[in-house]
Symmetry: D2
Subunit: 316 residues, 4 copies
Amino acid sequence: MVTPLRGRDELDLAGLERLIEHILSGGIDGLFILGTTGEGPSLSYSLRRELIERTCRLVRGRVPVLVGITDTAFVESVNLARYAATAGADALVLAPPYYFVEGQPELQDYLDHLAAELPLPLFLYNAPRNTKVQYDPGTLRRAMDQPKIVGLKDSSGNMDYFHQAVGLLKHRPDWSVLIGPEELLAEAVLAGGHGGVPGGANLFPRLYVQLCEAARAGDVPRSQQLHAQVMLISKSLYQIGRHPSAVIKGIKCALACQGICDDFMAEPFHRFRAEERVRVQRYLPELTTGVEKLVGNHHTAPSGRSTPQLGASAQA
Amino acid sequence: MVTPLRGRDELDLAGLERLIEHILSGGIDGLFILGTTGEGPSLSYSLRRELIERTCRLVRGRVPVLVGITDTAFVESVNLARYAATAGADALVLAPPYYFVEGQPELQDYLDHLAAELPLPLFLYNAPRNTKVQYDPGTLRRAMDQPKIVGLKDSSGNMDYFHQAVGLLKHRPDWSVLIGPEELLAEAVLAGGHGGVPGGANLFPRLYVQLCEAARAGDVPRSQQLHAQVMLISKSLYQIGRHPSAVIKGIKCALACQGICDDFMAEPFHRFRAEERVRVQRYLPELTTGVEKLVGNHHTAPSGRSTPQLGASAQA
Amino acid sequence: MVTPLRGRDELDLAGLERLIEHILSGGIDGLFILGTTGEGPSLSYSLRRELIERTCRLVRGRVPVLVGITDTAFVESVNLARYAATAGADALVLAPPYYFVEGQPELQDYLDHLAAELPLPLFLYNAPRNTKVQYDPGTLRRAMDQPKIVGLKDSSGNMDYFHQAVGLLKHRPDWSVLIGPEELLAEAVLAGGHGGVPGGANLFPRLYVQLCEAARAGDVPRSQQLHAQVMLISKSLYQIGRHPSAVIKGIKCALACQGICDDFMAEPFHRFRAEERVRVQRYLPELTTGVEKLVGNHHTAPSGRSTPQLGASAQA
Amino acid sequence: MVTPLRGRDELDLAGLERLIEHILSGGIDGLFILGTTGEGPSLSYSLRRELIERTCRLVRGRVPVLVGITDTAFVESVNLARYAATAGADALVLAPPYYFVEGQPELQDYLDHLAAELPLPLFLYNAPRNTKVQYDPGTLRRAMDQPKIVGLKDSSGNMDYFHQAVGLLKHRPDWSVLIGPEELLAEAVLAGGHGGVPGGANLFPRLYVQLCEAARAGDVPRSQQLHAQVMLISKSLYQIGRHPSAVIKGIKCALACQGICDDFMAEPFHRFRAEERVRVQRYLPELTTGVEKLVGNHHTAPSGRSTPQLGASAQA
C-alpha cells in the first residue's frame, strides 16, 4: 500500500480510509504497509507508528496487516515491531539492513538475533535493488529453521532465485513465497508461488487478485490475458518519470486523479508536476476500461479468511 | 571516530573519553562522529543523541565536532541536526538518502529543502558504495550556491571525481574538499585537497596529521614514506575479515587491544572472534613501531585553531 | 551446442558427430553453434569455420543450423557470416560488440550497417552478463523494421524484459522470441515465447523439447514437473565449480562421462579435475533416471519441419 | 595511439605517418598500438597486422613499440604476438579475455599458458571497465614469477589498486607500473609509478611527457599546474558525446581538425557529426594555447634510450 500523505510529516487521513476501502473491495487477502511502494524508509518514526495504528484500526481484522520494519538500526526495527504488535498487526516484513554491505554469515546472525526479539511472524523481503545485499538461497534455507519466519517476498526480479525459493518449500510447506514485481506475478504463481505484493493493486486490486486466481487454477489463457493488461499498465503508467521513483509517483498520481488520496510524496521525491500529470490522465481511462473489461467493476467483499499462510494471495 | 559500545544500545562511556583524548592528542583538526566508521546508521536514535551530547561535552571546543545526519527520512535528519546544534556541535555531514535510487534533480531538490532547515553548516558526504547514489559534479556545483553548504567529504575512491571537486573550488574558495579513504590521502592533498577523514586516525592520529602536513608542504619523499605506512596498515589490519565490515572491525579490535575502548559492534556486525583477534595482535606491534619511527610517540596538544575551513586537516 | 574439442585448436570430430546425433535424436527444432555455451568467442577463426562447415555437413538439413557471429570486429562478423552461408547454415545469431560500452543509438546504427551485409536471416542475442550492453526494448522495436532480423534469443535473465519482447511481437508476428536460461524456459513459453536455447539440451534434449511442448499446450502441471527437473539439473550439475564457467564445464564433463564427446575446454578455461568429475559422476545417474522417468529414453526422429519461425522450439 | 582509418577496413596511411611523427616529436618514450584508444578489438585481424607492420617500419626503432594482443581467443593472441615479433615490435600488452567472466585462478592459468607461447616481453593491461574481470593483486604477484611479464598498465581508475601494484615492485624492481587514465597520471607518478599511457598524448605529447618529468622530480607545484591542464582537456574535449566512446571520438576529431589524420571510427562507432565537431573546434584553440604556454610548442627529438623498463614514461 502506498502511504497517503498531505505533507512532509502528515498523513492524508481521509485518503487513507478511502484507499484501504478501495483496496479491500478488490478482494485482496492481506495489506502490506511501510514497504518500498509505501515509502517506508522515507517516513519519520512517529508517522510510521501513526500509519500502523490507523491502518490496523481501519482494516478491523478483515484481512491481515503486514508491517515493514526494515531498518539499518536493529533497535529501531524491534521498537517498530513491538508497536505493530500492540496496534494489532498480523505480521512483519524485513529486508536486509541497507547501508552497510553485510556478508551472508553476518546477515544470518542478524536474522537469528532479530527474530528472537520479534513479537509477530516475520516475512523476509528480498529487495537487492534497494538494499544492495540479498538473502542468498542458503540464507533462506537457514531462516527456515526459525519457526518465527514464515515466508518470503522476493522483489529481486530474478526468477531463477524465485524458483529456488519455491524449491525450498519442501523444508517448510507452511511458508508463503510471494513475488514483488507485478510484471512477474503470473509466472510466479504458475510456478508454484503463493501470490504477490503488486504495487498496482493500489489502483486495480481486482486485476491482480483475479490474475492470482487464474494462475493458481492453471488457466494459462486467462493468465496471459490478465498479465498482458498488467504489462500495459507497467509500460505506460510506470514509465512517465525519468527516475526509478516513476513507479510510485505514477501510482500516487493516478490515485489522486481518481479522487482516492493525495499524491504528496515524502522526500527525496515530489509528486508529478502538471506535465506528467496530464500524461497520467491520458493513460488512465484506457487502462481503467481495459481492466474493467477483464475483471468487471463491481466491488467484492474481502474473503476475510485467515489462513495460516498469511498473505497467500495478492497484497497491496 | 568509531563509536565505542558496550552493548546493543549502550555506549562505552569510559572508552569514549579515552578514545577522544587519544585522537585529540594526535593533533587532529576536527572530529567526525556518526559516519560510516562510526556505524551511524546502525545506532538507535536515542544512542545517536547521547553520543552527540557526550562527545561535544568531552571535546570542550578544543576541535570542531562534525555530526553525521545521513538518513532515509528527511524529518529524522532535521531532528538530529537540531539536537546536534543544541548540544554544541559545529557542523553536519550528509550523504544522499540511501534506500531509494534518486535521480540527480531529485537529489538537488532534496539538498535545497534540507539545507533550508539546518541550523549548522553542512558538509556533503559522497559515499556511493553505501548509498548507491553519488553527488554528481553538477550537483556539487549547484550545492555551492547554498551558503550553508561548506564542503565535501569524498569516499567514492574515484580520484577523477575528487579532482573535479577540487576544480570547482574556484566557485567557492571557502569550501573544504576532504578525502575519505586513507589510501588516497597523500595524493588528495598533493592535488590541492584540504585533508581527509581517515578511519585509521582512531588508532594512529599523528600519522595522518603528519601525512597531511607533508603533502600540504609539497614534500613528496616524506609523503611517500608516510603513505607507504598507511598502505601497510590498510593491507594488513583492514583485511582480516572476509566481508567489507573488516575495516571497522579491525580498527575497533585494535583499539580494544590497546585498552582504549570496547570492540562491541552494532548489528548487523559482531566483534572479531578469538582467531581474528590473534591476527590483529600479531600485526599491531610492528605497525605501531613503524608509525612511531615515522612520527614519534609523544603526544601533541590539539592545535585548537578554529579556521573558517572546518575540518581542513585530518579528522577521525 | 557445446563445441567438442580435443586440443587448444582442434575439434573432437568423432565427438562432434555423436553429439549432433544425440541432440537431434531428442527432437529439437534447430541447432545453435558458436554461442556462449559453445565457447564461440574463445575459438580461433579457423576452428570456427571448420566447426560451421562440419556441423552443416553432419546435420544434412534435418534441422536449421544457426551460427553465432558475435564479434568485436564488424569485418570479422561479416566474414564469418559469409562463410556460414556458403557452408549451408540457415541463420545467424549476434550479441552486441562486447569490448566497448556502446550507447543504444550506436548499437542501432551498428545493427543497420551489419544487417545490410549479411547473407542470412539474423537472430539478436541479448546477453548482457557477457556483453555488458543489452539490446534495449527500443532497439528491439527498431530492429523489427529490418526484414533480415527475424528473432531474439534473450539470455538476460530479466523476465520483465522478455515480456516486453513478447509484447513487441504484434509489430513482427513472424519473429521468434526465445529464452536463453533453461531455468526460465517454462515460464517463457507459458508467457507466449516460442521456445528456448537451453544448454542442458546437449545432455537431455528430450526434456527441454517436452517442456516446450507442455508449456505451449498450456499444460501447467506437466510444465511444473519438467521445470522441477530442470531446476534439479541446474542446482546440482551446474554448481560444481566456483566460477561462472561451472555451467559449461559441468555440461562438457557430463557429456564426457556419457561417452559422447571430449570435455576439453578452450582457454581461459580447463576441464574439471578428478575431484569435480567425481561429483558430476555422482549426480548423473540420478538426474538421468529422473529425466527418463519424465520423458522416456527412446530416441525420437527430429521433426525436421522447416517453419518460417526458425528455432521455434528448444535448440541446443 | 589512436588508429588512423580511412574506411571500415582501411588505414589512413598518410595520417598514420603524420601521427607517429607528431607523437614522437613530443619526446615520448614508447608507442602503444591496438589498445582501447586504438580501437584494437574493433579492427579486423588483417588490419591489425598491417598497422603493426607499418608502425614498426615508421618508428624505425626510435622508441619501443608495444602491441596490444588482447583477445577472447587464445590462439589469435598468440598469432598476433608472433606477427608483432616478426615485424619488429618490442613488447606486447594483454588485458584479460573479455567475453566470459573468468575467476582469478582461471586467469592465472591462462597467463601462465599464454606467456609460455609469447616471443616478446609482456605488459599486463588492467581494464575492468572493458573486460569486466581485473587482474587481482594476488594475480599480479603471481605474474611477477614469470620473467616474461615485465609490467602493468592499470586503467581501472582505482588508485588503491595502483598503490598495491607499486607496493609489489619490491618483488620485481624491473617492472614498469604505468597508469592508464590521464586524469590520474600526476598522482600515479608522485606515488612511485613509472609513467602513463595517456590517450591525450596523441594530441599534446609534450604535456604528458613534462607532467611525468615534473612528478618524477617531485615538483608538486609544476605537477599541479600541468595536471590542471589535463583536467581541462578531460572535462571539455572528452565530454562532447553522450556515450563512453566520447573520449576516442574527441581525440580523433581534434586530430582531424589539426590536419594530422582522418577521424573515421571503426564500428560500432562513428565520427562526430558537424554539431559535435563545431564544439571540438571551439575548444581546441584555447586548449592548445594553454598547453603551449605550459610546455612550449617546439618539437623535441625522442630520447630514444632503450631502457630495460620499457615504456617507463608517457606513452600514447
